[in-house]
């Protein structure tokens, strides 16, 4: 009797996993549970408007902010900063990591310095940047760039170094020049690390944008949640947090992960 039941349960689970959209339904279920608990707590406390506004209040406030045009403007500014900052960060970090991976002399010179700065987080260099450039756009961009630079540079460096020697030798015996080995073997061989490093860097960059806007910005999502706290508009603070989190999920899932899958998994370099 019990066996029969486990059997049926297993079959149901197998069916559920293979049912297309099962994952989406699971996600929706989890979200519903969170919303329910949130709503419950919000109803149980005093002064929820100040401490934890209910989900529907937050949701409705998004209409209000949309209507005033504030949310799209803030969101657009934040995205523009993320794109600019992480683009420059990657554009500098990837070649730098490659140079370090390819040339021992360059790596010997820069590695300790790189290690030093990697440990000084973006937030720790904030004060000095503000002293130089004040609360300006330049300051926010500098923080994003600084934060995005290191993860990708280090990833690319180790990526180049993990390319098996065999591949290099095989290309050498086919008559490949130095540059052809870099182009045909070392860069493609480091691709998994370049992709993962880029994803990491953009992820760190995303956090840095919000932090930068909170501390030195005058616009953007970070600014919105920061001023929301000052003005006692808790619903705007929570709305800002939700938008930040959701944006990352969408970015990662529909932009960064497919890029990774398209190159690396097709080559069988990453086993799933």
């Amino acid at each position: 009797m019990t066996n029969n039941l486990t059997d049926r349960l297993n079959r149901f689970q197998a069916f559920w996993r293979h049912f297309s959209g099962a994952e989406a339904i699971n996600n929706i279920l989890v979200i519903c549970i969170i919303l329910y608990i949130w709503n419950f707590i919000s109803g149980a406390i005093d002064n929820p408007a100040r401490y934890l506004p209910a989900p529907d209040v937050v949701f409705l406030s998004s209409f209000d902010l949309f209507h005033k045009g504030l949310l799209p403007v803030y969101f657009g500014e934040t995205m523009a900063r993320l794109v600019t900052g992480s683009f420059i960060g990657l554009a500098l970090g990837i070649p730098f990591g490659l140079a370090l991976g390819l040339n021992k002399t360059i790596s010997d010179i820069f590695h300790p310095i790189l290690n030093f700065f990697q440990s000084v987080s973006g937030i720790a260099i904030f004060p000095i940047i503000v002293i130089w450039w004040g609360n300006s756009e330049k300051t926010v961009l500098a923080i994003i760039l600084y934060t995005a630079f290191f993860p990708v540079a280090f990833s690319v460096l180790s990526g180049v170094r993990t390319v098996p020697m065999r591949y290099v030798q095989a290309a050498q015996t086919l008559g490949a020049s130095h540059w052809q080995i870099v182009k045909d073997v070392l860069i493609p061989g480091a691709m998994p690390y370049i992709a993962t490093g880029s994803r990491l860097s953009i992820g760190f960059g995303w956090r840095a944008v919000i932090a930068g806007e909170m501390l030195a910005g005058r616009q953007g999502m970070g600014w919105m949640i920061f001023t929301g706290q000052d003005a006692d508009r808790t619903h705007e603070v929570i709305l800002g947090m939700v938008v930040i989190g959701l944006t990352w999920i969408v970015l990662d899932r529909y932009l960064l992960r497919p890029f990774e899958a398209d190159t690396i998994e097709r080559w069988g370099l990453v086993q799933r």
């Binding site: 098996p164 591949y167 095989a170 015996t173 045909d184 073997v185 080559w267 069988g268």
Partner: protein, 261 residues
């Protein structure tokens, strides 16, 4: 006329990677391979066969003795010496066709010519229909077919093969050995084939160089005068000359394995 590939008085020492103790890998090796000849080098593991191949491939610098291809001293790797490695040497990010055409691409051969050459070698190794597949989608045997085709497609003067079938299963190995024989008939490529498998050496070699235990020396040269066309596994096992040559090589290798000194 001098031989195609000449090795003269080649000796090699190197410090062990972990202990730093001097290893005497090769001792006064002399080998001559004639144009179009297929030479097998067989010996017990650790006899320095792979060291020899790496030196000839130009991947390992050497000081004592010399080695020539067409009278030109070997110094560093070069496209006139194609190498087929044991495994994991074709590039995972290139499709079958682009792996096979890599040598031509490196040399700057125009795409149209490259394509026709590549398809010729794809046919030769029997990989039609797999042109656009990536290495991770292939079996071990197919990967080695790609590796062989890549080396041949670059049209080297000499082909060096380092235990290319050691990592594939026994059934596939037999098929690949017959294919290499067929390809050798078709291309008449001068080949040095390194192996520890006595059967394989006797089956493929026109001559078989048997190496001693470390420090590796050429202990004996066994001629196998069986026409290449007759080298098919189901027939050759009944060939008296093959059996005699194989048993002779086996005896010579066994002496090295069991020798205690």
């Amino acid at each position: 006329m001098t031989a195609k590939l000449v090795v003269e008085g080649l000796s090699h020492h190197y410090p062990d990677e972990y202990t730093g103790i001097d290893v005497h890998a090769l001792d006064d090796i002399n080998i001559e391979v004639e144009e179009g000849e297929f030479v097998a080098v067989v010996g017990p593991s650790g006899c320095g066969k792979t060291t020899l191949l790496n030196i000839l491939a130009g991947l390992l610098p050497y000081k004592v003795g010399s080695a020539y291809v067409d009278g030109v001293k070997i110094e560093g790797p070069g496209p006139e010496r194609g190498v087929v490695f044991q495994e994991h040497a074709i590039l995972p990010w290139r499709s079958v066709a682009r792996n096979i055409g890599h040598g031509l691409e490196i040399r700057g051969v125009p795409e149209a010519e490259r394509k026709s050459r590549v398809s010729e070698y794809i046919n030769l190794v029997g990989l039609e229909g797999f042109e656009d597949r990536y290495p991770h989608e292939l079996s071990g045997g197919m990967k080695q077919r790609v590796a062989v085709a890549r080396t041949l497609c670059a049209d080297p003067e000499v082909m060096l093969m380092d235990e290319p079938f050691a990592a594939v299963d026994a059934q596939t190995r037999i098929t690949l050995q017959e294919e290499i024989n067929r390809i050798s008939i078709a291309t008449k490529k001068t080949t040095m084939f390194i192996t520890h498998a006595v059967d394989e050496a006797a089956f493929l070699g026109d001559r078989c160089f048997v190496m001693s235990r470390r420090p590796g020396k050429v202990k004996a040269i066994v001629d196998i005068k069986i026409p290449r066309e007759k080298r098919i596994w189901k027939d050759i096992l009944a060939d008296e000359e093959f059996v005699a040559a194989r048993d002779n090589i086996l005896k010579l290798v066994r002496e090295e394995v069991t020798r205690d000194d």
